[in-house]
Every structure is written in structure tokens, then in C-alpha cells.
Assembly symmetry: C2
Homo-oligomer: 256 residues x 2
């Protein structure tokens, strides 16, 4: 049984893509078989793997829109134990056309039940910064929703909407959806960051990962090279902090 995680937040620019990639690579380094699923029309996860969005014949758009088999879209990456389903700008059509179909929210969940998907220990899905049909599909398929968030006012406020969305998904299509909040892009020297981080810990308690990801410019650079941070700068703060997160996640999953 593969464990399925969605990385989603309506707030933009909170490191959803960066976290999906860096955590995926850290889990692969631990020896797990990991599949990355790029569900964002921006295709940043595809780009971060050194691939040109739009060049792959089969992408997540074909799975969602045409019902094509998962295995047709899986490709290898430059990282051992890490595979990818690319995205393309056609995913914009998924956002527009899926909602008219009956039970459209179960398309991805059902595609991830295939034998091919069961070969993976973890399936990590990067979502766009919107709460439409694509994100609904991801949250319906997921065991866990990871919500990357900055320790900033707009981001903290977005968590209120995210809690509302979790309640809706649990009612409509996925009663067992769990969540964990991850603080990213943290600047420990910044007073506002420290204050909001404190508030988040008080409000969410165990709903927050203990692991925190601080600002590390190496994380901006690795997508340019097309490899994950753990290969680009294995001893960087970013690599280390995502390894700690990977260990905390493995412990969490084991307890479930």
C-alpha cells in the first residue's frame, strides 16, 4: 500500500513545489520508492527535474482528462528511487472541464489504486495555489495533506480557509484525510517570523510538524540545475532540514 501525500495551500509562494521535491528526494535517499506527481499547470516540479514542461507525451493532464493509465505517464529522474509524472499547461483545461463530470473528484484516487501505483512507498503530489478541481482530486486521493506555510500574516490567515476545505473534503469524499502544517522560508532573525511561528504552535499544536525549513538560498539554485537539493548541495542547511522532515514523516506514517 503506497502512502499518498498532497502538498497544497491556496496561498501562493509558500514552498509547495520546493517541499514536494526536496522531501521526495530525502525519502528516496532513505531507500523508499517515491513517485512525484506534478498537478500544477505551472509545471514547476517538472521544470525542477530538468525537464521542459509540455515536452512529455503523457502527463497528469492525460490521467485526469483522458483517463489514461498512470504507468503511461511515469518517467525516471536523475535520482535513484525517484520517479515523476510531469505536468503541462493542458492542466488548465482540467480545472475548467472536470467539474461538469459526475464524480470527477475520484478520478485521481482511482488512478492511484492501479497495481503500478502500489509499487511506490510514497506518492507526493504538488498542487497549484488554488482550490479548484485539481486540488479537490488530490485531497480526495491523499492519506495526508501537508500545508507548507510561511510565518507571515497572509499565509497564517490562509490556514483558516484550509481548515474549512479539509472539513468539506472529509464530509464529501475522504473522511480519513489527515493534515500537518510545515513552516517554510523561516528567517529566525526576523521578529515577525518568530512571533507568528509562536502563534501557529499555540493554535495548531500537534498539527504542526516539529521540523521547520529555514531560508536557504541553495534551495533557489537547485531547480536551475535540475536536481534536488540533496544532490546539488548535500551538506546545505536545506538538505539537512528536509532530511529531518523526512525522518519525522516516516515516524508519523509508522504510527498510523
Amino acid at each position: 500500500m503506497s502512502y499518498i501525500i498532497a502538498f497544497s495551500n491556496e496561498k501562493g509562494g509558500v514552498a509547495k513545489t520546493t517541499t514536494t521535491y526536496a522531501l521526495g528526494a530525502a525519502l528516496a535517499e532513505l531507500g523508499s520508492q517515491v513517485l512525484l506527481l506534478d498537478l500544477d499547470p505551472q509545471a514547476n516540479l517538472t521544470l525542477a527535474n530538468g525537464l521542459e514542461p509540455g515536452k512529455s507525451a503523457h502527463t497528469s493532464a492525460e490521467i485526469l482528462l483522458d483517463g489514461s493509465a498512470l504507468q503511461d505517464s511515469i518517467q525516471t529522474t536523475q535520482t535513484t528511487n525517484l520517479q515523476l509524472v510531469a505536468s503541462s499547461s493542458r492542466m488548465v483545461d482540467a480545472e475548467h472541464f472536470l467539474p461538469v463530470r459526475m464524480n470527477y473528484q475520484f478520478i485521481l484516487r482511482d488512478a492511484l489504486k492501479s497495481p503500478e501505483a502500489q509499487k511506490f512507498d510514497y506518492i507526493l503530489m504538488d498542487c497549484p495555489p488554488s482550490m479548484g478541481a485539481i486540488t479537490t482530486n488530490a485531497l480526495t486521493a491523499a492519506n495526508l495533506l501537508v500545508i507548507p506555510t510561511q510565518a507571515e500574516y497572509f499565509s497564517a490567515y490562509a490556514l483558516r480557509d484550509m481548515m474549512t476545505i479539509i472539513r468539506r473534503i472529509r464530509k464529501d469524499s475522504n473522511p480519513d484525510l489527515a493534515y500537518r502544517i510545515l513552516i517554510t522560508l523561516l528567517d529566525e532573525r526576523n521578529r515577525a517570523h518568530r512571533a507568528i511561528r509562536e502563534q501557529l504552535q499555540q493554535t495548531f499544536g500537534a498539527g504542526l510538524f516539529t521540523a521547520v525549513i529555514e531560508i536557504d538560498t541553495r534551495l533557489r539554485e537547485s531547480p536551475i540545475v535540475g536536481i534536488p537539493i540533496s544532490q546539488y548541495r548535500p551538506n546545505s542547511r536545506g538538505s539537512q532540514q528536509y532530511r529531518i522532515l523526512a525522518q519525522e514523516l516516516v515516524d508519523y506514517v509508522r504510527q498510523q
Copy 2:
């Protein structure tokens, strides 16, 4: 004739909301009559004005979904010469339901032709980080598209999609749509930032504002207090740099 500006970028977290608010306040300070239009379901521009999203009876959702008059949704802010149309989470419905209507992309353009709208020198629209029906409405109504962007790899790549979208809008609904790119959240000390900024200047030339907005933690703090940066910390770097941008914009509009 009011001059209409859309702040849009598919890439999330690039300071669309921060720029709409800070630039709007700087133009109001110069004596212009300015209307801020919050078109994002996240309602961050509404929140930054110290208002509770969802509490306003009439919002941009009523204009787009119900065809209600612009003047019903306009409210004053704590800043002289600056008024606001709030947003609410109902705007998510606009994203889903508008595309089935004939000529849905002209709803906002037509609403901004009302006599009430003509009282304003500038109308500034904050868009969500997605390229759906709401953003199409804004780009159809706008004289100018301002694209805030970080000097980072994913953001720079998003500009390619934005150019494609501009071509589509010019063909379909707004042949005179102009654009200007604004570099935001710049860290002058960061090598990757300097390198990408250089590349953007070479690629886009005059398509780029000369003014640049650097990282200034005061810009993160002002939304918490519910007033614009020019009132919260008038002598901060953020306030000064948005005043320079306002002057460059005024000069640009005068030449049109």
C-alpha cells in the same frame, strides 16, 4: 477616463497584493483618486485594509456573479483618496460558474464603464495566482497589466506563460492591453537574484519598470496593522521604493 491596472501573475507569492496596496496608497498620496479592487478569493487586499473578509455585504463577487452595480460595493478605507471593493470566498464560485456564460470575459470591463467608476483616476485590481475566469475578466478590462515577479527561477519561467496569455487576451478581448514587469522581493546581496535580474533586463528591456522593490520586512508588518506601508512606516525603504514606482507609472500613463 480612469486608468485601469491589473496585478497578475500565475506564479504565487510574488507580491501582487502587496504591490496593489502599496502602489495604490502611493498614488493616493500624490492626490489621485484611487479604487482598489480585490478579485482574489483569498481576500488578502481586503484583509490588508483591516477588514474581515466575508463581512462586507457587497463585494467583487456580486459584481461578477450577480451583475450588481459597482457603487454598491465601494467602501472607504483609512487612507485619503483610496477606496476599496472587498472580496470574499464566494469569488471561488466566479471561477467555476462564469465560463459557461456567453461573453463572460466582458462583465468586469462593462461594470467599470459606469459613471461611478469614472470618478477614479486609477483602478487597481489584485488577481489570484491562477489564469481562470477572474483573471481573464481583469485582463480584458485593463489598460495595463503589471506583472510582479521575483528574481528567481520559477518566477522567471512563469513570465513565458504570461506572455502567451497576453497574446491570447489581445487576440480575444483586449487588443490594446499593455504590460510592465516589476521586480519585487529583491535581495541585492544574493548572487542568484542579481543574475536573474540581469537576465530579465536583457530579455524584456523597456518591458521592465526601472523601479525595483527590495525585501523590506516592514512590508510584511503593515497588513497586520491594516494600513498601507506609506502610513505605517512612511520613511521605510518599502515606502520610498513604491513612491518611486508610483512616479514612474504616472510618467508612463502621461505618455500614453
